[in-house]
């Protein structure tokens, strides 16, 4: 018990957060930056393990960001361990409509979140453990952290794993951990997932990729075969994994990763159960709000274009102008989406669908879509335009085929957005 008490005391000591106000008159000069850039000697760096008590992805991402932004990590390295309720997390510069399957997300009640780090899309649930390694940027080293994880896997579960060229951890070529990181100044972090017993059917369904006709230069995920650790070794549980990773972190020296055993571990900051709330971390609510916002999750999506074509049903094509080669003509729709908002709509109607007066119904649909958020609000607008055109033309026999055409086009529009 004495050991435990000592641990508790040193935890508090090491958690003392230095309050340093930003000095607006600070100058950028070689001398001052050199001084600030000096790395603390390894012996002066303490280590702590933070275990988040929340399973809310937005609170956890906010906590990560809070630590990154506010803590002085020069002499204090932190490993944060956290879990989320079912969530698809996309990388900072990714397209959630391209990476995830919104239909499945809605059906299964899976959240969509965007993190601040680079890399690809991952699925989290209670069978997955997340690790975030916080350091100052000058000693940031992803490989060192991953080596620590593979060491923990071997020490506790006798599992042999490798770090591959993409810096994923693999066992027999199957991925058990994916990595991403964020580098700023003065701090940086590297986070990774550990698949213990994730629901793989939902993982596959949510991340299922279709040819969605999306053109973008957003970062695209690299799908890899995955395996749950529990399928390799049935003794692995999330709880044991968390404990063994925490201890491995505490017993290893911060830079050279030398094993100091339990003696060394007991001199560190220990395990801290933390609650990502405003009370504990002032300013956290504001960061969380940002992570929840539509503007961050969807609005941050790099510019993209969705293009789809639909063959015109025979009844709508006017016989006289139907192509003689018998090939079906197509309605082509192209939406340009900037910052999650529809900026441009292009609709190509084949000649066979044009009436003598031209195709009149579409203009309204098109103009009303511009400036609308992709894709839920756009769907409502489409529904409304469709309803209106029905009312206008229902009684007019002459316009019957025209309104059918409009309906078909509106339907194509809807499908274009639904498919994404």
């Amino acid at each position: 018990m004495a050991l435990v008490m000592k641990n508790a005391a040193s935890r508090f000591a090491s958690l003392r957060v230095v309050v340093a106000s930003r000095n607006p008159s600070a100058h950028y000069s070689v001398a001052s930056s050199k001084k600030a850039g000096q790395t603390a000697p390894e012996g002066e760096i303490k280590k702590s393990v933070f275990i988040s008590q929340s399973r809310d992805v937005f609170s956890n991402l906010a906590l990560e960001d809070w630590v990154y932004r506010n803590m002085d990590l020069t002499k204090h390295h932190i490993l944060m361990l956290w879990q989320n309720s079912p969530t698809v997390v996309v990388g900072r510069h990714q397209n959630p409509w391209l990476e995830a399957n919104p239909q499945v997300l809605a059906d299964k009640g899976v959240e969509v979140a965007r993190r601040n780090s680079g890399g690809g899309t991952v699925y989290h649930d209670s069978g997955n453990l997340n690790l975030t390694f916080f350091t100052s940027r000058d000693v940031y080293n992803r490989r060192r952290n991953l080596d620590l994880v593979t060491r923990a896997l071997f020490r506790e579960f006798n599992l042999r794993s490798q770090v591959n060229a993409r810096e994923d951890i693999v066992i027999n070529g199957n991925k058990i951990s994916g990595t991403a990181s964020k580098l700023g100044n003065p701090n940086a972090y590297h986070h990774c997932t550990i698949l213990v017993n994730v629901d793989k059917s939902i993982l596959h369904d949510t991340l299922c990729k279709h040819d969605k006709g999306i053109e973008t230069n957003a970062t695209v995920s690299v799908p890899s075969p995955t395996v749950n650790l529990q399928d390799v070794n049935p003794h692995v549980t999330v709880e044991k994994m968390l404990s063994s990773l925490g201890w491995e972190f505490l017993r290893s020296s911060p830079l050279s990763l030398q094993d100091g055993g339990m003696d060394y571990a007991s001199k560190q900051g220990g395990f801290q159960l933390v609650n990502p709330t405003e009370d504990w971390f002032p300013g956290l609510d504001k960061i969380r709000e940002e992570f929840v916002s539509w503007a961050w999750r969807f609005g941050k999506t790099p510019k993209f274009t969705v293009t789809r074509s639909f063959p015109v049903p025979g009844v709508l094509a006017r016989q006289s102008e139907a192509p003689s080669n018998g090939a079906a003509e197509e309605v082509a729709i192209s939406l340009e989406v900037v910052k999650g908002v529809i900026e441009d709509v292009t609709l190509r109607i084949p000649p066979s669908m044009m009436t003598a007066k031209g195709f009149t119904g579409d203009a309204e649909v098109l103009t009303s879509l511009r400036g609308k958020r992709f894709c839920e609000s756009a769907m409502e607008i489409l529904g409304e335009s469709l309803g209106e055109s029905d009312a206008h033309h229902a009684s007019d026999q002459d316009h019957c085929s025209e309104s059918e055409g409009e309906r078909f086009v509106a339907d194509c529009m809807r499908q274009t957005m639904m498919a994404v």
Binding site: Y28, G37, N70, D72, G119, R142, T179, P186, W280
Partner: protein, 209 residues
């Protein structure tokens, strides 16, 4: 709530009392060392290249002194590198700035692009956006890492390099020319004086190795 067991089997008690964490704010400007995770290799490569840059640097000082003479070998080599430019200023976060009247062009240094590895996405500030010296204004993504971009000066963005947005690899291929990032109309021109010149920056890199 998790239970952590000591490897010896003894239970470990946690201190779960509510604790206030305070925000420290940023601790002034700091030097950084762009050591990426892929790390040792990138750093090694960077060191090697800097070694070369230093040779060129010596060439430059020699050749500018003998400006009247013929184009010597050193000068010829220098022209092919386009690494060194004495009108260019640098930050300790490895951004460069080149002034043309009131407008400064911003990019990242050769050292930075090398340490980053292949850039796959460039998030640049928008035209019309206000940027502040030393504040985040965008990000560059490479091998699963998002690196913050800091503005070297305060002002309004007047142009961004859309070619780089479409083809981020330009940053690796031509970080001082085709791979420029954005242009700022400076509101505090005196900030330029705080930046490092080529010699100081080379010395800064050397000190960081």
């Amino acid at each position: 709530m998790f239970t952590i067991r000591h490897p010896t089997g003894r239970p470990v008690v946690f201190c779960t009392s509510r604790r206030k964490y305070t925000s420290t704010g940023r601790d002034g400007p700091r030097g950084i060392d762009l050591k990426m995770a892929s790390g040792v290799h990138a750093a090694l490569r960077a060191t090697q290249r800097i070694g070369r840059v230093f040779q060129f640097s010596k060439c430059l000082t020699n050749s500018t002194r003998s400006r009247t003479g013929d184009l010597d070998v050193c000068q010829a080599r220098l022209f092919s590198t386009t690494h060194l430019n004495y009108g260019r200023k640098y930050t300790d976060k490895h951004e460069w700035l080149e002034m043309d009247g009131k407008v400064g062009t911003v990019g990242i240094s050769h050292y930075a692009q090398d340490a980053l590895g292949d850039v796959v996405y460039a998030q640049l500030p928008d035209v019309g956006q206000d940027v502040t010296q030393k504040e985040e204004c965008g990000a560059l993504e490479s091998v699963k890492a998002a690196s913050e971009l800091y503005s070297p000066v305060t002002g309004k963005v007047v142009e961004k390099n859309t070619a780089v947005e479409d083809k981020p690899g330009l940053i690796n291929m031509s970080c001082y020319e085709k791979g420029w990032l954005f242009k700022v109309e400076l509101s505090k021109p005196q900030e330029v004086d705080e930046l490092m010149d080529e010699d100081q920056y080379q010395q800064f890199l050397k000190n960081h190795e």
